[in-house]
Amino acid sequence: MPLDETLTNERKFKVVGTRPNRPDGIDKVTGRARYGADMTMPGMLWGMILRSPHAHARIKGIDASKALALSGVKAVVTAEDFEMRDDDLRDTLINVMARDKALYDGHTVAAVAATSKSIAKKALKLIEVDYDVLPAVVDENAAMAPDAPLLYDDMFTQGVDPAPTKPSNVANVLEFGHGDVEAGFAKADVVIERTFKTGATHQGYIEPHACVASYNPDGYAEMWVCTQGHFMIRDNCARLLGMDLSRLRVTASEIGGGFGGKTTVFIEPVALALSKKTGRPVKIVMSRDEVFRATGPTSSSTNRVKIGATKDGRIVAAEAELRYQGGPFAGSPVEWGAMTAFACYDLENVKTVGYDVVCNRPKQAAYRAPGAPMIAFGVESVMDDVAHELGMDPVDFRILNQAKEGTKSSYGPTYGPIGIAACLDALKHSDHYQSPVPEGCGRGTAVGFWFNFGGQTCVGLNVNEDGTVTIQLGTQDIGGSRASMCLMTAEALGIPYEDVRAVNADTSAIGFTETTEGSRTTFSSGMALIKAAGETTKKMCARAAKVWGIPEEAVEWVDGAARPAGDNAGKFDPMTFKEIAAIAHSTGGPIAGHSEINAENAGEGFAAHICDLKVDPETGFTEVVRYTVIQDAGKAVHPSYVEGQMQGAAAQGIGWALNEEYIYSEDGRLQNPGFLDYRIPVCSDLPMLETVIVEVPNPGHPFGVRGVGETSIVPPLGAIGNAVRNATGMRMLETPMSPPRLVAAFREAAKA
C-alpha cells in the first residue's frame, strides 16, 4: 500500500477512536470462553512429559518398558519418534524433545499418553533415563570465559575475523552503528561508562500452554491450541512430523496471555506424535512448574554502556557492548538489542556490538519488544547520569538529543515521521511531570523504542442478508484486537460497530497469516480489512448502479450508502448498506470481500515514562507511588485497549525492574519455578498506571495506525533505576532492584 504522506490528526473518524465493549467480553467474564485446556474430544488420552532434572547431561539410554507395561498407558515417545527431517527446524526439534543431550533443567526427554492424568503421572516415574551428568553454565559471562564448559564442540563463533579455530559458547558477534566513536569521545567534556546486568524474566502469562491433537488413520489431523499463531503451529507440527500442510487443521483457542511466549512450539508436536502413535486424541496441559522450567523466558544480559557529551548537552558518541544468553541455541535477541539501544537518539557517532551466547538455560522465546528492555536499562541509566554530570534536566537532555524525521537511526535506516518528540513534549507538559515530586520519593524518566512490523495477512468480509457483517481474521486476538477490527471495518463501510462481528478463523478457513507478534495485528489485519471493505463497497455501488440504471462509475460510497456521484449521475435517493444487502440475492448474489496483503511500513513506536517511587532503606521495599505511560499510537483505534496495552507493558517492565528474575543453583537447577517465588506485580502492588496517548499518524496505514503492544515494556527498567537513584543517591547496576539487592546496596553505601 503506498504511503499516505497527507495523513494528519485533522481527519475526523466516526467509529474509530470510540470505546465500545469488546465482542469477546461477555464470554470471558462469564467463563464461557474456551481456552486451551477447555477442549475435550471423544476417546481422548492425557499426555504428560518427562523432563530432565539436570542442566546438562548426556542421555545414554531411555528404558520405557516398565511404563508401557502399566495398565492404561498407550504410548511413550522419545527422540526416536521424531525424525530430523528439516535442518531449518533443527533447534526447534531438539528443544521439543532432547536427543543425545539434555541441555537445561526441564528439557523434555520423553512423553507418555495414558487414559488418565494419574496413570500418566505414575508412568513418568517408571521411565528410566540413564544420564551422564556434565558441567553446566547458566551465566553469560561465565559461558564466555576461556575455561567455560562447552555446550557444543562444533560451535565456532560467527562474525569475527579471523574465524576462530576453537569452539566456544559464543554463537555470533554482530555490530551496528555509524560514524567514528573514538573521535566522538575525544571531543566529549563528559564521558560516563558503566556495566549493567539484567535477570532473565518470564512472560508470566496466566494460562499455561495447552493443546489437544487428534491424528486420524487417514493421515489427516486436527489440533486445538492455545497459541499466538495457529499457522505457525501448523507449519512447525506438519514439518516436524512429515505431513502436508493441508492435512493439518489448527484452531486457536482463546488465549490467557502470550506476550511473545506463545510464538513457538513446545508441547504441540509431542501431543501430535502421541496421537499418531495411539490413534486417539491426546491432550497436554503444562503445569506452572513446567512453564517456568521449559518455556521461553527472555535472555539474561550483561551490557557495557558508554556515552559522551559536550558541555552544551549534545551527545558526541555512544557505544554499547551487549552480551545476551538465550539458552542452549543460537538466536538470543541480542541483535535487536543492539539495534534498539540508541534508537531514540540522533547520533553522529554510534556503535553497538552484540554477543549471542549459549547457556544451559531454557531456550529463550520472544517477550514484548524482545531484546530492547535490557539494553535500555543501561542506556537510559547512563543518559540520566550524563545529564546530572552536565547539570542538565534529564528530560531536556533527551529532548536536545532526540531522533526526528530525517535522523539516520543508530541501526541504519533514516526515520520518517516518528513520535518521540511528541512523547517527550507530552511528558514535559503532563500533569504528572508538572506536579511536585511526592515527599520521600525519587522521580525517574526514560524513553523506549520498538520497530513494529506488518507481515502476511488474510481477512474475509461477508455481508449477511440483514446487512450485518461477519469478518474472518487470520491473526489470533491476544489483546482485544477483535474490537479494533470491528471498529475499523465499521468505519470503512460506514455502518455501526454493533453490526460487525469478528471470528478468528482456523487454518482451513482462511489463507496463511503470520503470528500475532511484533505489534502487527491491529496494523496489518486492520489494513487488510479496510482494503476488503473498499472492495465490498465497490460491489455495493455496482448493485445500486444496476438498480438505478446508471454506470458504476457514476456511483460513490459516502457515509454508509451508495449515492449518485454528482448532478450528472441523476437524482436517486441513497441506498444504504442494509438496503443493498437485502436485495443482494436478486441483484447478482451474495456480496463478500476479502484481502490478502503483505503489510509493510508499520511505523516505529516510541514511548516516554515517568515514575515516582519510594524506597525503604531498612527493608529495601520499593513502592511505586505514581507512574505515567506516554506512547505514540499513530491513531488509537480503541483507546481503552491501547491504554490497556500501555499499562500491561509498563506493569511487566516494572516487575522486571523490581522483582522478577530466574534464580539458579550452582548446578543449574531453577530455584523459583512458581508465582510464589517468582514475583510478578499484582494489582495491590501498583497504583493506577496513568496513560497519555500521543497520535503521530503513520503514513503507512490508511487510518494512521501504529502497533502499540510492545514499546512500553522498554522504558520502565530505566525509569525505575533513575527513580531509585534520585530517591536514594544510589545507581543500581543490576535488575531486579529487589529488596535484598537494595539492602545490600544501602549497606555498601554506608560503608563507603
Binding site: 575475523d161 511473545g260 539495534m339 541504519g412 535506516p413 520518517g416 507481515g455 511484533g518 503492544g709
Partner: protein, 81 residues
Amino acid sequence: MVKVTLNGSLRSKAGGQSEFDIDAADIRDLFRQLGELQPKLKPLLDDGVVVAIDNQIYRDSLFQPLPEGSDVQLLPKLAGG
C-alpha cells in the same frame, strides 16, 4: 545506482565490506547481485532480510523498486513478542 549498507550480522558475512554501490531495479535484483558478489550472504538473503529504502521499511517485498540514488539499508529479519 543505489548505495547499499549492510548492518549487524549481515556485515560479518560480507568479509568486512559493509557498503556497496549497486545498479539494481528492485529488491529482487539487488539480492541477486549481492548474492553473486558475496556468496556467503546468499543464504541470509534467501532466508529474508529487511530492506530500508530511504525512510521506508520492507520486510518481504521482492518487487519493490529502488529509486535512483536511494539509501538502501539491509537489516536482519524482524519479529517481535
